[in-house]
Amino acid sequence: RDTTWPYQCFGCFVFKPSAKKKKTLSLADHFIHGCEGAENSEKRFKLCQDLWDQIKTDTEVLQDELNRNILDSLLDFTRKCSSTRQHSDWASQMRASEIPTAALVLGVNVPDHDMTFQSLSDLLQQSVTPYVASVQAKECGALKHLIKRVLERLMGTVVTVDDEEEEEAEQTSAQHHKSVHCSLSTLCDWYNTKTKKSNTGTPGKKRSSPVRDGPQQPPVVIIFKDLEAFNPRVLQDFILICSRYIERLPLMFIFGIATSPSTIQHLLPHSVSSLLCIELFQSLSCTQHLATVIDKLILTKQFPFKLNGKVMQVLISIFLYHDFSVRKFIKGIQLALLEHFHSQPLSVLCCKKKEALLNVMQLDHLDLERIRHLLSFKRYVEKQEPREQVDLLTDDTHLKEVCQKLIKDLHKYHKNYYPILRCLHTLTSSLPRYPLGKQIRELHLICLEKNVWESEDYQSAMKLLKMLAKDELIALLQRCAEILQPAKSKKIKSALVQLEDMLTKFKQLDSNITSPLKHLQKKTDLAQLQKTLLEMNESRRAKKLSPFEVLRNEALEFIDSLVKSHLSPPESQVLNEVCYYTSSATVRRHLNATPRTSIQAALNSPFYYLQNDRLKTEDGTVSNAAPDICIAYATVVSAAEGNDPDSDNFGKVDEVKHARFIRAVSELEFLGFIKSTKQKTDHVARLTWGGC
C-alpha cells in the first residue's frame, strides 16, 4: 500500500524476509551468522529453504487455481470481443463504436492484485493477443504520461514527450530507437504495419487459432490496474481519444476496481461511459481466498512446520483487521518459518518423517541436552518410571531411540488431527449461531489453545447436534465419512469403518420403522389425534428413547470420543517445540510495527537501543548519562503531569548546557511530542494525540 504518512519512515519495517531467501551463499552465511546452535545451522538453512520453496510453489499454484475462473472468463471476453469486431452483421456494426471494457472487481486488498494482473496479462499474451499493456495510476499523472506508458509498453520503444526535457531520455532514445511521437495515431500506424507483417511474413506462427476470413486483428488490451486512483480527467480524455481510433484500432480495456463498480460512474461522466461497453467480472472475495490458503497450507500434514495458536491469531487478526492481504499473510508465515529455523536449534527435526528420524540419530550431545530442557519433554519424563527417568536424562543413545518414537508419535498426531478437525467443523459449522465458529480457522484456533471438549461452546454445539433432524444428521455424518475416506492412518481407518456402520444402521431405521407421525396422517378425527399426541408425550416423558435417538446418541458419543483422542492441543504433545513456532510477539513486532511506541520506548529506556547497561536505572527514571533528548522527554512528561509547563531544573546554567537543552527541545518538537504554543515565549505544549 502506498503511504503518505511519514511515520512509516522509522525503519521498523526494515525486516524483509524475502531478501534473505535468494539462493546465494551469502544468504546462508547471513542465516548462520548469529543463529542459535551454529553446528547444524547449515542443515537447518537448507531445510528452511526447501520448505519455503515448497510453500511458495504451492501458494502460486493455489493462486492460479483460484483465479482460474475469473481469468478464463476474462479471456473468453477478450476473444469474443475480438471476434465480434470482425463480424459484419448489422447488430455488431451498430455497436462497433463502443470500446469493449471489462470491469474486474477485485476487492480492497490492493497488494494482492499485482499477481492477478501479472498472470492475466501473461495469459492474454499467450493465448489471445501479443498486445497487452498495463498501467498504474501513479505513473500516469497527466494524459501525456498515460499515452506514453501505453505506447512504450505496446511498442517496446522509447516515446518522447515533447515538453519534458530530460537529457537522459533523449540520449537513450537516440541510442536505441528512433523516437516516436506520443500520440495514438503513431500506435495506429505501428499496429497496422505489425498486423500486416504478421499476416504475410510469418503465416505459420499464428495459425493456431482457427483461420478466419479477412485480416486477423488481435485486440490491443490496456489494463488499468487501479482505476480508483486515476485522475478522472486523464481517464476521460484518454477514453475520448481512444474512441476516435476504435475503428482503426481494436482497443479493449480492463479496469481493475478495488471498491465497487459504481466508481466507474463516479469517475466517468455519461458522455464518456457511453463510449464503453462494460461487462462486470467479480473475483473471489479475499476472505474466501484466505480460507483456501489456510485450508491448503496450514490445515495439512504436508508441511511439518506449524504455527501455534497465538501466532496464528496474530496473522489472522492482521489480515482481518488491517489489510485483507493474502500476500502479507503468506509473508507472515515466511517470517515465522525463518525465525523458527533461525532461533530453534532443534528445528533440524522439523522435516519429513524419514528425514527427521535420520536427523535424530545425528544429534550431538548438546542438542540432546536441549531436548532434555524442553518443557514438553520434562513433562514426559516426569510421567515415566524412575528407572526410565534416569535413563532418559543420562543415556544419550537411549534418548535418541525414544526421540525417534516421539517424533513418530508427533507425525501420527498430525495425521489424525486434521481429518478429525475437518469432521468436527462440518458437523458444527452449520449450527445456529455457530458455537464453534463459522470458519474452520476459528475451530482450529480453539483446538490449538486448549482442550476443545472442555469448552462451553463445544458442549452447546453437542446439544445442538442432538436436536438435528435425522436426515440432516445423516447428511453431515455422510460428509464426515467422505472426509475420512482418503486418510491413511490406522486409527482413522477404523473410525471410518465404525462411522459407516452407523450410517448403514441409520438407513436401516428408515426401512424398518414407520414413525408414529405417519399414523397421524391417516387419522383425521380430532379425538384420536389428541390421544396419540398424549401417548407420544408420555413416552417421551418416560425417557423411552426411540431407536433413532439411541443411535444418534451413540454416533455423537463416538464423535466425542474421536475429538477427545485426537484434538488435544499441540502443547500436550511431546517434542511439539520442534515443529511449532510460538513467538507471537516477534511476529507482531515485525509485521505490525508501532513506530511511535518504539520511539517512546527509546526515549524512556535508552539502554535498550543503545545497548549500554550503564544507562539502566533501578527505579525506571532516566539516568544522568542518558542522551539529552531522553532527559528532555522525561521532563516534558513529568511537566505535563505536574502542571509545570517548563523545566527550570536547568536554571541558570552555562551556555553549552542551554544550547543542548534547546536542541533537545527542538528534536522533540520534530518528533511530534511537543509543539510551541505561541502564547508566551519559551512555552511548549505536549501533544496528546494517540493517547500513547
Binding site: V108, R244, N592, T594, G690, C692
Partner: protein, 413 residues
C-alpha cells in the same frame, strides 16, 4: 444544412461553430470538405496533449511528413508559423486550406496566446487558410480577456423529431424494408423522445432493441405491416430499457444476453450502481466510520459523544445554536488527522495500538477514494481529510460491525 456551404467558401479567417452534442457539426464539416475536395486538416483538441502535437498534425496533413519532421522538439507557435510559411511558399495554395478543430473548448486551457493567434492565422502565415472551431459551448465563454479577432459564429440547432427520424431511419437493417425500420424508429422515438434527444444515445437504443422488435415477425405471428401489434409487443420492453440501458448501467452485450434469457428469469441483471457493497478490513471500517463522524459532526460536540463522563451539558444548551441547517445538507467538512484518530480510538471497542498499518490504512482509504485528502500532499505534519462516502454506505458499513452510527450523529439527535 447545405446552406452552410456558401459561408464556408467565403474565405473568412476563422469560423466558430457551436451546437449541442451530436448535432452533426463534425459530420457536416467532414462531408462538406470531402465533397468539395478542399485541402483540410482535422484535429481533435483532446488528443493534442501538447501544442506541438497539434502543429505537427496540421503540417502533416497539409504538407506531408517532411514538413512535420522539420518541427523542432517542443515547438512553439512561432516555429509553427515559420515552417508553415516556408512550406506554403514552396507549394502555394490554390484553394483555401481549412483547419478543423474539434472540441475547441479545450484550447482555452492552453497558452493564452494560442487561441487569438489561431484566430488570425491567416494574417500570420499569409496564406489562404481558415480555422474552423467546433465546440459545444457558445463563443461568449471563449473570448479572452485581452480581446481578440471575432470569428464568424454559426449555430447548429438541435435536430427536430422529424430530422431525428430521418437520420435514424438511414441505418436500417439490410434484411428488412425501409418502411418497416422507419416504423420501428417511429415507435422508439415515441417512447424516448421525451427523455432523450441525443442522437447517439437514440441510435444505441435503436440498435439494441431492434432484434426484440423483429421477434414476432420471425416467429411468423405478424406481418411487417401490422404495426399496431408490433407496437404492443415492444412497448413494455422499451420502457424497461429506459430504466437501465439509458444510463449504460447495463452494457449492450449484457442487455442482449438478457433479452435472450429473459423469458425464463425475468431479468435479474443488476446495473452497475446496484453493486455498492464493499468489503473492508475491520479497522478500515471503523476508520471510515470515524471519518464520517468527524466530517458531519461539529468538532465541539465530540466531547458529548465520545467522552464517558462528559459532565452535564444541558440539551437545550447543546442544541441551541442556530445550526438549523442539517450538516448532511452542507456536505462533509474537513478534519485533521488527530481528530480522526481520537474518534477512531474511542469508537473501536478494543484497545488498538497506533501501528503503522493503521496509518497506511488511512492512505489506502484515500486511494480508494473513500476519503479525500484536503490539505496539500506536501503537508506532512497535520494532514486534513474529508469523508467521501454516502450516508447509506456508512450505515451499511456500521451494520456489519454492530455500530449504531445514527446515535453518534449530531443531525439525528
Amino acid at each position: 444544412i447545405k446552406h452552410f456551404q456558401t459561408t464556408i467558401t467565403c474565405n473568412y479567417p476563422s469560423i466558430f461553430i457551436y451546437g449541442h452534442r451530436a448535432s452533426g457539426k463534425s459530420h457536416v464539416m467532414h462531408v462538406l470538405l470531402k465533397e468539395l475536395e478542399l485541402p483540410h486538416a482535422t484535429v481533435s483538441c483532446v488528443e493534442c496533449v501538447s501544442v506541438a502535437l497539434l502543429f505537427e498534425q496540421v503540417l502533416l496533413s497539409f504538407f506531408g511528413c517532411d514538413a512535420a519532421s522539420l518541427l523542432p522538439r517542443s515547438a512553439s507557435l512561432s516555429d509553427f508559423v515559420r515552417i508553415y510559411r516556408q512550406q506554403c511558399s514552396q507549394s502555394p495554395a490554390k484553394q483555401t486550406r481549412y483547419i478543423v478543430m474539434e472540441k475547441a473548448e479545450l484550447l482555452r486551457d492552453t497558452d493564452a496566446n494560442l487561441l487569438p493567434a489561431l484566430l488570425r492565422l491567416q494574417e500570420l502565415v499569409e496564406d489562404n487558410v481558415t480555422i474552423i472551431l467546433l465546440s459545444e459551448i457558445v463563443w461568449d465563454k471563449f473570448r479572452p480577456n485581452t480581446g481578440c479577432f471575432e470569428p464568424l459564429l454559426l449555430h447548429f440547432p438541435d435536430y427536430s423529431k422529424g430530422e431525428l427520424h430521418t437520420i435514424l431511419s438511414q441505418d436500417r437493417h439490410p434484411s428488412y424494408s425501409d418502411e418497416f425500420y422507419s416504423s420501428y424508429i417511429n415507435i422508439l422515438l415515441g417512447v424516448f423522445y421525451s427523455v432523450c434527444r441525443d442522437l447517439r444515445e437514440l441510435r444505441h437504443l435503436a440498435a439494441l432493441n431492434f432484434s426484440k422488435f423483429c421477434e414476432p415477425l420471425e416467429e411468423g405471428k405478424v406481418k411487417e405491416t401490422d404495426t399496431h401489434k408490433l407496437w404492443r409487443n415492444i412497448e413494455p420492453h422499451l420502457k424497461k430499457a429506459m430504466q437501465t440501458v439509458y444510463l449504460r448501467e447495463v452494457s449492450s452485450v449484457q442487455w442482449e444476453q438478457m433479452q435472450q434469457t429473459e423469458e425464463k428469469e425475468n431479468g435479474a441483471l443488476r446495473g452497475l450502481s446496484a453493486h455498492t457493497h464493499v468489503e473492508l478490513p475491520y479497522y478500515s471500517k471503523f476508520l471510515l466510520i470515524a471519518a464520517y463522524l468527524a466530517s458531519y459532526n461539529p468538532a465541539r460536540t465530540d466531547k458529548r459523544f465520545f467522552l464517558k463522563h462528559h459532565g452535564k451539558i444541558r440539551k437545550t444548551n447543546f442544541l441551541k445554536k442556530n445550526e438549523k441547517t442539517s450538516n448532511h445538507l452542507l456536505g462533509p467538512k474537513p478534519f485533521p488527522l488527530d481528530r480522526l484518530l481520537a474518534i477512531f480510538y474511542s469508537v473501536v471497542d478494543s484497545r488498538v495500538a497506533p501501528t503503522a498499518s493503521i496509518f497506511s490504512q488511512i492512505s489506502s482509504l484515500v486511494t480508494l477514494q473513500l476519503l479525500t485528502q484536503v490539505s496539500h500532499d506536501d503537508q506532512l505534519d497535520a494532514p486534513k481529510y474529508k469523508c467521501a462516502v454516502s450516508m447509506d454506505f456508512i450505515c451499511a458499513i456500521s451494520r456489519t460491525v454492530n455500530f449504531e452510527i445514527v446515535k453518534y450523529l449530531y443531525d439525528f439527535l
